[in-house]
Amino acid sequence: MFMADLVPHPDEVRIVSKRFGQGAIDIDRYLELDGYKAVQTALGMQPDAIINEVKVSGLRGRGGAGFNTGMKWSFVPKQSPKPKYVLCNGDESEPGTCKDRLLFEHDPHSVIEGVVIAGLSVQSHVGYIYIRGEYRYLSNIMQKAIKDAYARGFLGQNIFGSGYDFDVYWHGGAGAYEVGEESALMESLEGRRGIPRIRPPFPAVVGLWGGPTIINNAETLASVPHIILGGAEWYASLGPPKNGGTRLFCLSGHVARPGVYELPMGYNLKKMVYDVAGGIANGRRLKAVVPGGSSTPCLTAEEVDVPMDFDSLMKAGSMLGSGGVVVLDDSTCMVKFALRTMKFYQHESCGWCIPCREGTDWLKKTLARLHAGGGVRKDIDNIQYLAENMLGRTFCPLGDAAAMPTIAFIKKFRKEFEDHLDGRPCPFEEQGTVEQLPVFA
């Protein structure tokens, strides 16, 4: 088994990653490191008080959408004829993101604890932890962690002698990006194809097997115990207003020191690239940054001086997404990058909504032709037009996720797309490596 190495940096504020590299997989070691204290505190709290605490902390969904977690929990109806569920989304598949993997690898009990606290806040009695199929070794770790917690009486009937019952189960996927979306995740857990459901009704009202369901990213749930123990005000004060706490940023691409770093929300992106990640590798220059996984619109080198929080990035025309920061240097061909991004979405589109199924396929074909020097001037506008028509026309955000970065590539790097026209081969590739296509004018 490969244990991902962790490189510390002085600016890091380690909260979720506090126990990384300290052997917290072992339940005894976890208990030494303040483990399962938050659940016991939460058991003595009123459900509304837990929700309020999380709301005040300013914790926002770490999976990508950035919705206030406490707010999401408060939408679950108090009385429900059907059982309520908690579902932890560990189907991490967004290109550029590799944070949940570390969480499961080093601190699986904190995720379990987060699931139980979320369950207490809405008076649910069952929680599921969904782990993607590729992470087989992590699902083994999680299964052992759950078994250990049952053996100690932390899960099951009468947890911690409180009279409250709570069961946690693991569930495994089998390779699908689409399943990371909440309604497709529920479909997959129910044993079907991961096809999204229309909203409303939202999962908080009608979710798993028709019961009200809380769905949160693994990192979000792992942050909850720290909020309960440290207090909502302390957590909120770590980041800018309405963007509480810290988050795990996964720095990758052309940087000298790629890795996963836990930094406070609102940390400057430029500083992140040049200081935390050690700048651009091989003495090259920065060209663009994809700030939150492949679904988010890129930022050019001039735009990178922004605080990394949900609201600031929204203002800068992008999104914080899942925290996967992909850095591109000036040797990167943006057309090729756009093509590879689109190839991914075309592969992962479930085919349920026509704008996404057809849109991603045509965008991939057009981009491939353009990259191979077979494009015509009109293609560039066509790509933008097609992408703009996918926005908001699908059940789930996969269509938007494919369209948004593409529109940004065209808007910000139009010159580069034009350099591929008139039968010219890709200027970034060596002569003859890209197969030349005939031009149909």
Binding site: F2, T97, Y169, A176, S252, P258, S294, G324
Partner: protein, 202 residues
């Protein structure tokens, strides 16, 4: 078709209801009276699988939830999802074969075709592409002499170009079956493949 003797007795036991305006007799068999068909064994799976399956099926309010994870575990044992296995799963979970196949076709890790003992999955998604994932894939293609989704003649290796496997900060990365190999170079990839070749020959 003539009812055989066992069915005949059922006919006698059930209380036919006559629908006068159709001129038909409708038989309502109570489920308890239906002939008990012995469950035939189609495919042998390990005790570990059976234990896991029996445990997991109680985790959910519906049976079919167990389908995806158990298909993956079964595939690990059999190499691929055989027709027998699909029929077996469908029977166990009260589904049709088609419903099981429908689910299988959605998930990219599930396969109904045999593949090599070691499935080499090279990521070429954006983070890996920037750090040479495509070179690693090309290197594997040359080294193994097969293309995307191909299998070597000796049945030892198959190769696949996969989407993000969640190793972006340690790119380029590849997975052989479930084991991650990260920060790869062509030389390192060579060593990995050699290691597997040695293990496979034993």
């Amino acid at each position: 078709m003539r009812p055989d003797s066992s069915q005949q007795s059922l006919l006698l036991r059930s209380n036919p209801r006559k629908v006068w305006w159709l001129g038909l007799e409708i038989h309502n068999y109570p489920i308890s009276q239906l002939p008990n068909v012995e469950h035939e064994i189609r495919v042998r799976l390990s005790d570990q699988f059976e234990q896991r399956f029996a445990e997991m099926i109680h985790h959910y309010p519906t049976k079919r939830s167990v389908l995806v994870p158990s298909l993956l575990y079964a595939q690990d044992e059999l190499g691929y999802l055989t027709d027998e296995l699909i029929a077996e799963m469908a029977e166990r979970l009260d589904l049709t074969d088609l419903e099981v196949r429908n689910v299988i076709s959605y998930y990219s890790m599930l396969t109904t075709k045999p593949r090599g003992k070691f499935n080499v999955q090279v990521c070429t998604n954006i983070a890996c592409m920037l750090r040479g994932g495509e070179e690693i894939l090309d290197h594997c293609k040359r080294k193994l002499g097969i293309g995307h989704k191909g299998t070597t003649r000796d049945g030892l290796f198959s190769l696949e170009e996969v989407e993000c496997i969640g190793a972006c900060s340690w790119a380029p990365a590849a997975q052989v079956n479930y084991d991650f190999y990260e920060n790869l170079t062509p030389e390192k990839m060579n060593r990995v493949l050699e290691e597997y070749r040695k293990n496979g020959a034993q």
